[in-house]
């Protein structure tokens, strides 16, 4: 392997005064003054959030406005910091979706505990819990930061999938057992 000897030239007289170097430094900083700013002025300007970003977890509804969660509690069990608490329950009898599936009576995610790992989304068999691209939430009290079911649906909105599992299950239930 060839060794390359870097030649250390002695400084010239002009270099020893430092003044040319100072001048070139001044030129660089002066040019910088007219370059566009790299600052993102945060509250007004937000960074572009990439797809698959892991923000806060929320519940979603299907296009027919039914809640997808069937309160299987897998997310509650998998959640590493135990941020999720689900109170399972039956759907009320007067609802058109009664006797099809279960639904959570109460669904709480403690955003102070949540570590945004996304395991709940991965484990959910119903694709009912999704991590959004919202990354900053604040509140004045601890209670405020425990998001209830209603708030989770408000933030989560609708998932535009085309499974319509509820319709299929309802049709199957009305049809009765096939064997």
């Amino acid at each position: 392997m060839a060794v390359k000897v870097v030649e250390r030239k002695p400084l010239t007289w002009a270099e020893r005064t430092y003044l040319p170097q100072v001048a070139s430094g001044l030129r660089i900083t002066f040019r910088n003054m007219f370059k566009p700013h790299v600052t993102l002025e945060y509250p007004e300007e937000r960074p572009d959030i990439p797809a698959n970003y892991r923000g806060i977890p929320t519940l979603v509804k299907d296009p027919n406005g039914r809640e997808k969660c069937v309160s299987c509690q897998l997310c509650e069990f998998v959640c590493p910091p135990k941020a999720i608490r689900i109170t399972p329950g039956a759907i009320a009898d007067d609802s058109p979706n009664a006797h099809v599936e279960k639904a959570p009576q109460e669904f709480e995610i403690n955003m102070l505990r949540c570590i945004y790992c996304g395991l709940c989304q991965e484990v959910c068999p119903e694709e009912a819990i999704w991590l959004q691209n919202i990354y900053s939430f604040s509140g004045y009290t601890r209670e405020e930061m425990v998001f209830k079911k209603q708030k989770l649906y408000e933030i989560g909105g609708t998932l535009p999938d085309q499974h319509f599992k509820w319709d299929k299950k309802k049709a199957a239930a009305e049809h009765g057992p096939t064997h």
Binding site: G25, I28, N32, H37
Partner: protein, 359 residues
């Protein structure tokens, strides 16, 4: 009649204090904006007074320029809690900011800021003007030394020591560098005469500014000025990466604010002195000001414009160059600038003597 004269002087003095203080206050803003721009940031751009944002078009631009930031800064300094550490020497601890502030404000009494019908616009037209400035402004270091000593802790102490060493080293070169200017004006140390002597042209087209016919003096004076005002690359007394905050480590709230304003007042005054001695003060080549108030206003405006450019240069240098090491500062002061200044003095003494022999 005497009362009227007194009132006139008082008015002038107050006007001057107000002017210098507001320039010093806005120099802080300029520093922050220039720092931002050089680092490709916007700088302070949020502070606002009520209702300013409702002014169409200019309101939002004033806010984006940060024009109201100095008011907020001052307000913060005034209303903050003033802690005094238990281990300080109380008398000198309180005295130090005042001592560093008063010389900075005193030097402006002899600074001419313009010309009115061939008479200087100045509070006191002293014949020893420049000596007065050199003498008084170097008193400012006592404030820093006292602050370092009275704080009774190691970082301020180191800052104070460095500051005094640095000031002594660069004071000599500074004084020697400006002597050739005053040799030329014929033995008087009056600043106004020094400025007026730069008014005429050489060979009909070269302006007779100090920086053009004495570039070396100007360079030495400028470097020494940076050292005297404790600006980067010579901010040995503060050196926040080495000494926490140097001499004002133990200071907070308004006392720190006074140090801060004193530093910027020093910069403004230093820029003014450099402008007067080397940049031709309020004179412009090829242009004669009309008589009367219009000419006086023009001369003040030109002078202030030059001072502002130099203040900008101070900021620009600060955000370009890194800090010298302490021994490099000493070597530059004693082994480079001082011999250079002496050689420069001898050269111009001989040159001026020869010139006067043949004229």
């Amino acid at each position: 009649m005497d009362l009227l004269l007194f009132g006139e002087y008082l008015l002038k003095a107050l006007l001057m204090i107000f002017g210098v203080m507001s320039i010093a206050g806005y120099a802080v803003l300029v520093e922050r904006k220039v720092a931002g721009w050089i680092q490709m940031r916007p700088g302070p751009n949020r502070t606002s007074l009520p209702f300013i944002k409702y002014i169409p078009y200019i309101g939002i631009r004033l806010i984006r320029l940060g024009l109201f930031q100095p008011l907020a800064d001052v307000g913060k300094f005034v209303f903050k809690e003033e802690p005094m550490p238990g281990h300080v020497n109380k008398l000198y601890y309180i005295l130090a900011p005042c001592i560093s502030f008063i010389p900075a404000m005193t030097t402006m009494t002899v600074l001419p800021i313009g010309v009115f019908n061939d008479r200087p616009m100045v509070l006191a037209n002293l014949d020893i003007g420049i000596l007065f400035i050199l003498a008084v402004s170097s008193l400012g270091v006592y404030g820093i030394v006292l602050a370092g000593w009275s704080a009774n802790s190691k970082y301020p102490f180191l800052g104070g020591i460095r500051s005094s060493a640095q000031l002594i080293s660069y004071e000599l070169a500074m004084g020697l560098a400006i002597l050739p200017i005053f040799m030329w004006t014929g033995g008087t140390l009056n600043i106004f005469d020094a400025v007026q002597s730069q008014q005429h042209l050489w060979f009909g087209f070269i302006p007779h500014w100090g920086i053009i016919w004495q570039p070396l003096s100007a360079l030495i004076f400028l470097v020494a000025l940076f050292a005297e005002t404790n600006r980067l690359p010579f901010d040995m007394p503060e050196a926040e990466t080495e000494l926490v905050a140097g001499y004002n480590t133990e200071y907070g709230a308004f006392k720190f604010g006074i140090f801060f304003v004193a530093e910027y007042t020093h910069i403004v005054i230093g820029s003014a002195v450099f402008t007067l001695l080397f940049l031709g003060g309020w004179t412009l080549p090829y242009i004669d000001y009309p008589e009367g108030y219009i000419g006086a206003g023009l001369s003040v405006a030109v002078f202030l414009a030059k001072v502002f450019m130099l203040v900008f240069f101070f900021m620009w240098i600060r955000w370009t160059l890194p800090r010298f090491r302490y021994d490099q500062v000493m070597r530059l002061g004693w082994r480079v600038l001082l011999p250079l200044a002496i050689g420069n003095l001898i050269f111009y003494a001989i040159a001026i003597a020869i010139y006067e022999q043949f004229n």
